[in-house]
């Protein structure tokens, strides 16, 4: 038998594949196995390290995909996921035939477009302004404060909104008090669906403005100082520098954020919207999105089949959007892509 393992490297050079006899082939096999074992000796620790995470992904991200068969079934809890009757595409037909489908898809797209443009615009303007602030202490404090709403739970945001819009016993509220000062008519906000897309957009601008500005500020710091010096020598004002140098150079960052946002456009912001609107049916025509609809149908109707069908429909369309967005993003900025 030929020496393997420790001397494997040296021996391999001597065996010519042309004269491969049975024993040489066997030796080669043993050698390969030994090398693999050596690699594995270090890597079993790594596999052990990765195991909890891998198991989590398998159970909570991949196993549920099996549960999607419910979308094609007339699901019945007592019969279980696999025991229930096949239903073909009936669940999908039921959803698409109901009048709700159009409304919630339109709301999802419209609200997300508003949220995206609102928060990006706020973040951009805020970053440009923060960049002008020279007093270090002021700037640091301001940055911390504007970032803070990002960490507030949707429930607390909902409470804030009630303070502002509803007041005590559904009367008044801070905004109506303000309206009163200017002799404007009082509005019963929680029974008027019309302005809600804009109210939610303002909430999103408030919530994400500071967060987005941090991303933009990070990009601003990478703009070379010489550009500003050149601009200043040419007599440009601070506003002109911000408009003609900073803003165009933030283009790529903005592009990536837009692309990522468009990729998520089919997924509603469930937590915020549900926390604010809840089961207030009066506001559904303008605020109900796919996610809130799915949640309500699951809890109130208990129809797993139809609900799963809506979820699957959303996932598939969403997947198309996200994948397209990732591909576009990779073309925009090869270095920033993950894979």
């Amino acid at each position: 038998m030929q020496p393997v393992g420790r001397f494997g490297e040296r021996v391999r050079g001597g065996t010519a594949p042309a004269s491969a006899t049975g024993s040489a082939r066997k030796a080669e096999r043993l050698r390969r196995r030994a090398r693999r074992r050596a690699a594995r000796r270090g890597s079993w620790v790594l596999l052990l390290l990765a195991a909890p995470g891998v198991i989590w992904f398998a159970v909570f991200c991949y196993l549920p995909l099996v549960g999607l068969v419910v979308a094609f079934k007339n699901f019945n809890v007592s019969q279980g996921i696999f025991g229930s009757q096949w239903d073909g595409l009936q669940n999908f037909q039921y959803f698409l035939a109901s009048g709700d489908a159009f409304t919630i898809i339109r709301n999802t797209l419209f609200l997300n477009a508003l949220f995206l443009s609102g928060s990006l615009l706020t973040g951009l303007v805020l970053a440009l302004m923060l960049n002008e602030v020279r007093l270090t202490l002021f700037k640091r404090a301001a940055q911390s404060i504007v970032f803070f709403p990002y960490f507030i739970s949707p429930i607390v945001i909902s409470i804030i909104l009630q303070v502002l819009l509803a007041g005590v016993n559904g009367q008044g509220g801070a905004v109506n008090d303000l309206f009163g000062v200017f002799d404007l008519p009082q509005v019963s906000w929680y029974t008027t669906p019309g302005p809600w897309p804009w109210i939610l957009t303002i909430v999103k601008m408030w919530q994400l403005g500071g967060y987005t500005s941090v991303i933009f500020l990070a990009a601003i710091t990478s703009i070379p100082e010489e550009m500003y010096e050149a601009g200043a020598i040419d007599g440009a004002s601070r506003f002109r520098l911000a408009r003609s140098i900073t803003t165009p150079l933030l283009g790529p960052t903005l592009g990536i954020l837009v692309v990522l946002g468009v990729g998520r456009i089919f997924f509603g912001d469930f937590a915020t919207i549900y926390a604010i609107v809840g089961d207030n049916g009066i506001l559904f025509p303008t605020t109900d999105v796919i996610d809130t609809y799915v949640f309500r149908s699951l809890l109130t109707l208990g129809d797993f089949g139809v609900t799963a069908a809506i979820g699957l429909f959303q996932s598939v369309v969403g997947f198309v959007f996200v994948t397209a967005a990732v591909l576009v993003q990779r073309r925009l900025n090869k270095e920033s892509s993950i894979l």
Binding site: L46, V66, E132, V133, I145, G173, A218, Y228, A275
Partner: protein, 325 residues
């Protein structure tokens, strides 16, 4: 600043992060004078910026101020003239009621359990998996990358998750039903991978030459060098768990197990639920609106208090993540 960046060696990254966090360039690179307008007169845009930033910062603070003030204002005043900027007449009634009942204590126990246990689990699994991905092991790391990335593109949705928790794992009314679905955030996995890949290869290589195994390298070298990113991950996960209420709403039905956010959500859904918070003896004239605001205050108080100290880590994590999609 310098203390938690001490382990880093890549000067480029340090500078970039330092700038983003401190929001002020290092003086060596950018002399303060060059940044100022050549003429000494005050530029209108600078004035507008100070005003604009102050305005937005105020908008971020005022709602919290109103809630805190409202929680100290007597219910009779709230009902009569709405919310105000100063508590008069001053009243501690809501807090007295909150602290006499057990609901608040139960809520805190639930939220603390979910946050502490959840963050510990999340942190260990995320760090370990990210390190294996970052190690670029042939045949292991790349499949793992794809494995952790695909869920960002395609998810099963609500119903399969609901069936998984209730029909397969039978976790109803367990705090783990809140923890487990949120245990790993693919985004944070990739933030950690990005950080691990920037660790100095020479240190790891010399450790390997000295005969350190993979386990020793990870626990004795990688983790101590990665304290900044571990802080970022821990804080992001902790905030997520603290604010989580949706899974609690889905899977918890026993009111004594409700976390704070769910108690608060019940107060929104039905203002009369507020009357159930204090013990039955005090129920008679519960100040429901004041109580709701007081409950909000005790829910966000830990975040409000910890934020000034933790804020720089969030900015850091965000800039790390932003540079790598």
């Amino acid at each position: 600043m310098s203390s938690y960046l001490a382990g880093r060696s890549d000067p480029e990254v340090d500078v970039a992060e330092e700038r983003a966090t401190e929001a002020e360039p290092p003086p060596a690179q950018r002399p303060a004078k060059a940044r100022r307008p050549v003429s000494r007169r005050v530029e209108p845009f600078t004035v507008v910026s100070y005003v604009g930033v102050s305005f937005f910062a105020l908008l971020c603070l005022i709602p919290f101020w109103m809630i805190i003030i409202g929680s100290f204002t007597a219910e009779s005043k709230l009902a009569l003239s709405g919310y105000s900027f100063w508590p008069s007449p001053f009243s501690l009634q809501a807090y007295q009621l909150l602290f006499t009942g057990t609901a608040l204590l139960d809520g805190y126990i639930a939220t603390l359990f979910i946050t502490i246990v959840g963050t510990a689990l999340s942190l260990t699994t995320t760090a370990a998996l990210s390190w294996v991905i970052a190690r670029r092991m042939p045949g292991i790391s790349r499949p793992l990358t794809v494995f952790a990335y695909l869920p960002m593109l395609f998810t099963g949705g609500l119903v399969p998750l609901y069936l998984l928790i209730t029909e397969v794992l039978h976790l109803e009314n367990s705090w783990f039903a809140v923890i487990l679905p949120n245990m790993m955030a693919p985004f944070l996995v990739f933030v950690a991978v990005t950080f691990f890949r920037q660790l100095p290869g020479e240190i790891l290589e010399s450790a390997r030459l000295d005969g350190a195994g993979e386990a020793r390298i990870f626990f004795r070298i990688v983790l101590p060098l990665s304290k900044p990113i571990l802080a970022v991950l821990a804080l992001f996960y902790a905030v997520t768990y603290w604010n989580e209420w949706f899974t609690a709403l889905l899977f918890l039905s026993n009111p004594t197990k409700f976390p704070l956010q769910l108690i608060l959500q019940n107060l929104i859904a039905n203002v009369m639920n507020a009357a159930q918070i204090p013990s039955s003896a005090a129920q008679a004239a519960a100040p429901v609106y004041q109580l709701r605001l007081a409950m909000t205050v005790v829910t966000i108080a830990p975040i409000l208090l910890a934020y000034p100290f933790a804020q720089r880590f969030f900015v850091k994590g965000l800039t790390l993540g932003a540079t790598k999609g």
